[in-house]
Homo-oligomer: 348 residues x 2
């Protein structure tokens, strides 16, 4: 199923860029690191209309496109050149399931957010010759990549919008991500990553999906049947048809790689271990956007980081869809996030 899911038919059209040998923060190396990306709109002659939008956990460029891009929206291809880049391990870029032996599956090297942003920097600067992004934005793990870009490449980022994510994982967030990891890895069929086929681990993927649903949406979404607008029949039907269905075709090792990257995220490594030094060195204009009901990345944690960033504003919005409002299922969220992004893009 993973081969069918991670395909041009389902998630395309997308391009790929082979970056050759790529040395990793944790000491490993990916041979023929491939980034999959999709672009929308045209790069201006001055190359001053580029937006970069990396994926979140289990997301793809196609999922971002459907939820955020369109004429008249903030990310308008008639005005901007938008690059949707798939993070390493998401199944379209280099990932455990599509890497040849001996670095396949459980032998795929450990990845950090900084590996993604360094690879994306090559895509942006070497492939497209863009020196400065008008905007980088991302939700959840995409926010982690957004923060890493703003800290690591200050001259290449004019504006940034990290949405529902943190620059440095909190102890609680790490515990939460550990529970997601355990839900998959505890399935005996996972077998240390050497399962016969991805579908064999469906029990673990289903458990993982239910944990994700229980904390990713808000209690009120379930209790007020907010899923009715999308055509589901019961809370259980919604969880299976929407959340389990999202994860079941994906590769367990891919998801586990993404989860370990999510868990270990910490921009302070770029600044000798000081989060204050890392965030105070950001020169971009930032809208730090938080979902008030977010149980993955609580508002108070996001606000604590925002206060350390010089040219930043905290922007909040409310959604019964909680953290997973990112997916674009809530019209009110879509409208509000669009307004924030337009405001940021108009800021000098």
């Amino acid at each position: 199923m993973a081969e069918i899911y991670y395909s041009q038919e389902i998630h395309g059209p997308y391009e790929t860029l082979n970056l050759g040998d790529f040395d990793l923060e944790d000491g490993g190396r990916i041979r023929n690191l491939t980034l999959a990306y999709a672009t929308f709109g045209k790069l201006s002659p001055k190359k001053d209309n580029a937006i970069l939008f990396p994926t979140w956990y289990s997301g793809t460029s196609k999922i971002l496109e459907l939820a955020y891009i369109g004429k008249g929206r903030a990310l308008d291809p008639s005005r901007y050149f938008i690059i949707l880049v798939n993070q390493i391990g998401n199944g379209l870029s280099s990932s455990p399931h599509n890497t040849p032996s001996p670095f396949n599956a459980a032998a795929f090297p450990r990845i950090q957010i900084g590996d993604d942003t360094r690879a994306q920097y090559k895509l942006v600067t070497e492939k497209f010759g863009i020196e400065r992004l008008e905007l980088i934005l991302g939700g959840s793990m995409g926010a982690q990549q957004t923060y890493d870009w703003a800290v690591r490449f200050p001259r290449a980022v004019k504006r940034a919008a990290p949405i529902a994510g943190l620059a440095k994982g909190t102890p609680h967030n790490r515990l939460l991500v550990e529970t997601f990891i355990e839900a998959i890895a505890s399935d005996p069929a996972w077998d240390g990553g050497w399962y016969s086929h991805a579908g064999a681990v469906h029990r673990g993927l289903r458990r993982h999906a239910r944990l994700f649903a229980a904390a990713g949406f808000t209690p009120s979404l379930f209790n007020e049947a907010g899923w009715r607008d999308l055509g589901f029949t019961t809370a259980a039907d919604f969880v299976t048809a929407f959340v389990e269905n999202h994860f079941l075709p994906q590769d367990p090792n891919n998801l586990l790689l993404l989860l370990s990257k999510w868990r270990d995220n910490d921009v302070s490594r770029i600044a000798g271990g000081s989060l204050e030094a890392a965030l105070s060195g950001i020169t971009a204009k930032l809208f730090v956007i938080a979902i008030e009901e977010d149980a993955f990345f609580p508002l108070s944690d996001i606000e604590a980081e925002q206060k350390l960033i010089p040219k930043s504003e905290l922007k909040t919005l409310s959604s019964a869809w909680g953290h997973l409002a990112l997916f674009g299922t809530d019209p009110a969220y879509n409208e509000r996030i669009g307004a924030y992004l337009k405001e940021l893009l108009a800021a000098g």
Copy 2:
């Protein structure tokens, strides 16, 4: 380990009452149903100073005693006759692990909250001859029993204080409890309930404990290291030494029985399926107490029920310990809950 844990040495002293054959709401029968309970103080000649306090999930009478009872506190044995009663399945009262074959372990019948309250009613009225409780209170699953008492036996309840719990489980709460169930039952060593010994299921119990910790406390407790006051060294040390350590000596089938009872809780069954009818029929004076940060039983869900209860007041308190402030680890919670209970006990 379960035999050592569920003992007079660890959780005593407690008494037991054998209720003989006891028919269950779901159609089963417990032979020689035994309720374990502990009493404090003296029953007045008029029998008008009795307080009943049933246990929460994985709690025992000893845990309640240590957290809530003492001279000068709201539950003062020099003034009140306090009965701490262990719910069915908690390991001290009749439970899967202490019931002889053929109804042992996975063959123990399914239990509902109403089975507990009907058995407790016999303890209160037949054993002690008490016609009316001055107060019934309980936290979490204890709140479920408190609501059931108030609906089922209105003339036997003068005052009630359900704390951090609901009269009818919400769809979200059921999903959450399902994830706890799955964390244990997914351990291959659980083997449908027919494990060789309770310790064999420790991986499932540890996963369950970590899920419990991630949602049971607040993010800020972890992120601000609120566990330091209790002498733990890191977030991981706290989770293992406090939460895993709490659950590991307990019997997996006992915990699963309690979880299914928690999940299915619904007082509306007493009133033909109408929650409004059930709650509007309560005649006791109620303080409905909610913990503002509670992720198991959100304030908004508790408030929605409270509004349906005639002589009730909503009382809220705040704790970084979230739902698990019930355990008495937060001095501010202890002080506030004590003040609320004193106020309720003084109300006419």
